[in-house]
Amino acid sequence: MTDEVFLRVNNIETYYGSLQVLWEVSLEVKRGEIVAIAGANGAGKSTLMNTICGVLHPARGSIEFENKNITHLNAYDIVSLGISQIPEGRRLFPEMTVLQNLMIGSYDRNARANKEKNLARVYELFPILKERKNQIAKTLSGGQQQMVAIGRGLMSNPKLMIIDEMSLGLSPLIVSDLFRVLQEIRERGIAILLVEQNVWQTLHEADRAYVIETGRIVLAGNALDLLEEEEVRNAYFGT
């Protein structure tokens, strides 16, 4: 694992119409890291993710990936650079099958060449998806849908996966399983930027973390250090 920073977010400020939602937000992700962004509901986590992925554009500040300025790129152009977003709420294509959902993940031209190999890897990580490959996505359970969502993200051959609220609506057991898979994905050299309300478990799984509150980064550092931080314990764990 090298120490190379490849995603740099510099002082971005994003608005919804005339309402400012993010203030001077900066963060970094290095290759092969798991970085968490923790914060309460409405703190601005999803806005931040959407801004990085090109769904929203910041009014000020910049975003660089592998030294390329991606601040104003459209979402559909960012995929080919190696960033894959697993959106909040899974957002599978409801009427398409598991296999179809996975395969559309390899739509990007660069990813098509590796589609068979990537599909085999996804089935290795989630064997149940191979069993259910012809099942219609909307009939899957929440946990299975999250597996498909992650698998679909892997199909685009990403260098960085951005996962928005993976644990939402899922039981702790399933969430633990999913975190194990994330560690395996990290072993393969893919960096992960994780956005979570579930602060406790996330800080145990990530390398570094940022805490966001009402649109600002208020704390940053190693995940385990943050677990010990007075502010974090007070705010999230009531201890």
Partner: protein, 288 residues
């Protein structure tokens, strides 16, 4: 037994005619499914196809069905241009804007056709226009069989395209969740252009087969648009099987309605069926 033989003719004709209605409805269904726009110019575009075929038949002597080899690419490209320069801006503004622009396109086409070819009705007359085949005591016009075969071929081709190509799957994905489709690297503008191009290719195919079956005039598009709506309401959106069944029901309602209740029945019964389905199952028989 006589009762059955008596019904056999309207049933068979109704089913074959239903095939024609499926082709007419498919283009409308595609645009609504992908772009969420009700393309009220679809009927006019189909009739434009009939007149384009009329042109190449009378001026160049080319059979309308063979002429599709030239007409399909032309209409496909025309569709991409209409989406790119007219509809795209309207869709971005609002659903109402798109409706109005489509309506404007229909008016322009209808009046242009009227100026060029006069209001009098035309027909695509070929050597086989008058041919019928005989099964027992039933006579079936050959063109009705061609209509049905065309419907099967078109449905098969579209289905293969949507299921087996990346572009087809991209269109399917974008119609189910546009924002997430973008996250897959799918450019929605490009998807809309291709979808509308395909819709116009379907329109010209529908126009050719309509034109060899029935006489048409510049205003025929209006009735076709209403039939297309009826088929889609019956069958539901998002399912080709649904559109097919919708077409069959519509065609059967027409012929059986006409058989039992005369010309009024022919007009009325299909729309009574539409009302019934709207009441008991508004999303259509196969809709989601």
């Amino acid at each position: 037994m006589d009762f059955i033989t008596e019904l056999a003719s309207p049933i068979i004709i109704g089913l074959l005619l239903g095939g024609l209605y499926v082709v007419i409805a498919l283009g409308l269904s595609l645009v609504f499914g992908v772009m969420k726009v009700i393309n009220v110019s679809h009927g006019a575009l189909v009739i434009l196809g009939s007149y384009a075929a009329f042109f190449i038949l009378t001026q160049l002597g080319i059979d309308p069905i063979l002429g599709l080899v030239i007409l399909i690419p032309i209409f496909f490209i025309l569709g991409i241009l209409i989406e790119k320069y007219l509809l795209n801006r309207a869709v971005k503004m609002s659903a109402d804007a798109a409706l109005i622009i489509a309506f404007g396109i229909a008016l322009i086409i209808q009046n242009a056709i009227q100026i060029i070819w006069t209001p009098y009705s035309r027909s695509l007359l070929t050597e086989y226009s008058m041919n019928r085949i005989q099964i027992g005591e039933i006579y079936i016009p050959v063109v009705y069989i061609l209509d049905f075969v065309a419907a099967l071929v078109v449905m098969l081709v579209i289905r293969q395209f949507l299921l087996r190509t990346y572009l087809g799957q991209a269109i399917t994905a974008a119609s189910q969740d546009r924002k997430t489709a973008e996250l897959m690297g799918i450019n929605p503008t490009r998807v809309y252009q291709i979808a509308f191009g395909l819709s116009m290719a379907l329109a010209v195919i529908a126009g050719v087969f309509f034109g060899i079956t029935f006489p048409f005039d510049p205003t025929s598009g209006n009735a076709l648009l209403i039939i297309a709506f009826g088929v889609i309401i019956l069958g539901g959106l998002g399912s080709m099987v649904g559109t097919f069944i919708g077409g069959m029901i519509f065609g059967l309602s027409q012929t059986l309605g006409g058989h039992f209740f005369g010309p009024t029945g022919q007009l009325l019964v299909p729309f009574i069926m539409v009302l019934v389905v709207l009441t008991i199952r508004p999303q259509g028989l196969f809709g989601r």
